[in-house]
Symmetry: C2
């Protein structure tokens, strides 16, 4: 089987933790311990979030006195693909000494006229008081919005359309390497009218990109790892209960929180619909069970999975 696994950004750093390198490296080791058994039996692509990490680098860049303009989100995303991609690369190599591993930078193409650019909604970077937020908005052309505790910048979160370097990812997989790519949803780029690629200020949902990646490398399974054991019906209410094996039709009839489980469910449904493969959502420690259909929420095509 060919398997794509998506690690949440919070799998590498919990909300309450300091973002120091040693702490994140410890999380990476734990994640790779859970993934190594999958890599022993299957072709494996690992992708990952970058929320806390890109937030840290954005805040640093913004305060850098040597810069006239802070680095844009395509550049910051590329930095996090380097950093997180390195940690995963080294940990995978250590866990799988007989196996090649490669971290490949990938850009995700989005539509220049995606409606998200006209109505940016994704909070990024540090918290400001209202005055500072208004000043930065005027000086830098940022869109700012009120968050729970103050004001923050928002950027567009457009739909991922394709992964520019998919052929290189595919070639490395075919050669037997484990591949790390598409971190943080991919470096966001558009194709300009003259045909050239150009970076944009955006953040792409990493689970939706993982679904696209899984479809385009012809994966048999997409495993989305998060910090809960399964998707729940009536989540957050006394009637909450986990969803086990399910179908796209069943999931599409329910609704999920747009900021958290929504994109994961959407990604799982898209992958299963597009390919007839299976998609699973659950927690890191259950990774082998998720793939075997014995843990978490497993989305199968109508009529059952290919396995």
């Amino acid at each position: 089987m060919r398997v794509v696994v998506a690690l949440g950004g919070n799998a590498l750093l919990e909300r309450t933790e300091r973002p120091d390198a040693d702490i994140q490296e410890r999380h990476v080791l734990r994640a790779v311990d859970a993934l190594a058994p999958i890599a022993r039996d299957h072709e494996l692509v690992v992708t990952h979030g970058n929320g806390p990490q890109v937030g840290l680098l954005a805040a640093e860049s913004e305060k850098d006195p040597d810069l006239e303009h802070p680095y844009p989100f395509d550049v910051l995303g590329a930095q996090t693909q380097g950093m997180i991609g390195y940690w995963l690369l080294q940990a995978l190599e250590n866990a799988l000494p007989a196996r090649g591993v490669a971290t490949v930078l990938t850009q995700t193409l989005v539509d220049a006229d995606d409606p998200a650019f006209g109505d940016p909604q994704k909070f990024v970077g540090p918290l400001y008081d209202e005055d500072t937020a208004r000043r930065l908005s005027a000086a830098r052309g940022w869109t700012v919005r009120p968050d729970e505790k103050g004001f923050r910048r928002v950027v567009a979160s457009p739909e991922p359309r394709s992964i520019v370097e998919i052929a290189e990812v595919d070639a490395l997989l075919a050669g037997g390497s484990v591949v790390v790519c598409a971190g943080g949803g991919g470096i966001p780029v558009v194709r300009r009218p003259d045909g050239r690629l150009a970076g944009v200020e955006a953040v792409i949902d990493k689970d939706l990109t993982a679904a696209l990646l899984a479809e385009h490398v012809h994966a048999d399974a997409l495993v989305i790892l998060t910090d809960v054991p399964a998707v729940e019906i009536d989540h957050g209410t006394p009637r909450a209960r986990p969803i086990g094996r399910t179908t796209v039709a069943e999931l599409r009839a329910l609704s999920f929180a747009p900021g958290s489980m929504g994109p994961k469910v959407e990604a799982a449904c898209r992958f299963v619909t597009a390919t007839g493969g299976i998609a699973a959502i659950g927690q890191l420690g259950d990774a082998p069970g998720l793939l075997a259909g014995s843990a978490g929420t497993v989305v199968e095509p109508a009529g059952g999975g290919r396995r």
Copy 2:
């Protein structure tokens, strides 16, 4: 032919310029304009320095109030491979729309007992007054040394021994892709007694790594781009004159500045000695001439090049 080109970190940012993203992207476009004709006729690997860029990120990390310890140089190096690797990737794709391009993160293995670790000499990060330097040295275990204008941290610059992901680089080249890798001399790692790879606080000379890379991918030519048209005999004196076609024996009989031309000459000599290929040192605008042997300093094996 298979060609490895090494771009100086200063090719992407001049000493007097602001390190903003747009300025570096403009330099990348200019560099890629010079490299694209080579890629049209040959297999091409591009590597690059990261001095100004890793210095910027080190300074940001050090001032980050959310971090207990600033990110170490392996992690910062990985960030710069992501950032500079992205700019080169996109510019190469735009210049060569019919060609695959891949940026692959690579670690460079060094010896844990390299003598450089006992006597670190490479200046990194910002300038401090003596008191601050002594305090940071005590608090963080840094080695600090006086620079021209104050004190700076120094880290080891050990000898590159191998490139961990060389097989993946080779596979991508064989598949026809232009490959960007080994930026900043590679992410510095050692192999611990238990066999596991681990990052180290070091900075590896990018030209020496380029020579190793060129040898290990069985390149026919190594082109080292810098900001002068050729290596000079009696550089900085009234008798200075450029060296054109030369041999390893001729160059080894001369001496060059350790911080600038020395490593480039050493890298060229190592590559030619190890492989019998040719190595050239010169400026960006002369890239095709360097490869053809009609510009810059061209080091050929005794008895003439393979071409």
